[in-house]
Symmetry: C2
Subunit: 155 residues, 2 copies
Amino acid sequence: MAAPKLHLDGLKVGQVFHSAEYYVSADEITEFSAKYDPQPFHMDDELAKDSIFKGLAASGWHTVSITMNLLVKSLPLAHGIIGTGVEKINWLRPTRPGDILRINAKITEITISPARPDRARVNIHISTVGQDNKVRQELVGKLLIFRVSQSSGAF
Amino acid sequence: MAAPKLHLDGLKVGQVFHSAEYYVSADEITEFSAKYDPQPFHMDDELAKDSIFKGLAASGWHTVSITMNLLVKSLPLAHGIIGTGVEKINWLRPTRPGDILRINAKITEITISPARPDRARVNIHISTVGQDNKVRQELVGKLLIFRVSQSSGAF
């Protein structure tokens, strides 16, 4: 990424980041599931037909992991993307073989630490969207972000 | 798993499930990160020393994924473990190379669907703990669970 790296003072509420696209193959779905979510509807297309998913569906944790991959490539933070937790995830539709995912991320809250004003908790709302423009997942993550120096104050 | 499969009527608030153990190697940490969270502190021990983590740390999404692996093997639901979302994740400490993780999971809420009484939303609180008994992650997940049949009512 040639984009300049961001510190806390370069972020503001409402700021939006968009990602590139990520192609999801059936092989990647079954490989992830075999390791981390070994259930029939995530691993076998035939068995998945008889499940609530009516066909092979990625693990929600796989959708989340792809979302993180896209976020790392879209949000150039100087200290890296350090998550302290998650306030919400909703899986609205499963990711399917052949899906092309992208994310839209928006800064929704910036709370400077009262005890340590060199850092803030920043909430980010991330929608993970498919090639059909339908949302697969909504997530609100909590990030720890540092100020470049306490004397700078461009924003 | 030889354990009998559970339906909604076999679950109650306060019920607890424990898992086996999961050994986390440095290779698995860097392999996961390369695919889904490609940041220096998750991929390279030397670079990680200069980060907030002070050494190689697993991606939080990797800890979550291992947690799911352990849950699938510990909670024998007849219809499978179908997550509709997450109410909370907190990463309290990073997972490190050589960690041996296990989970303690507790049913905290069961809400029968008003519109479709054959199913319920079940909240499950999962603590992911290391060999040192220190908690790496707390998670509250939302599951969709089906009643075996509407006429049964053992609980």
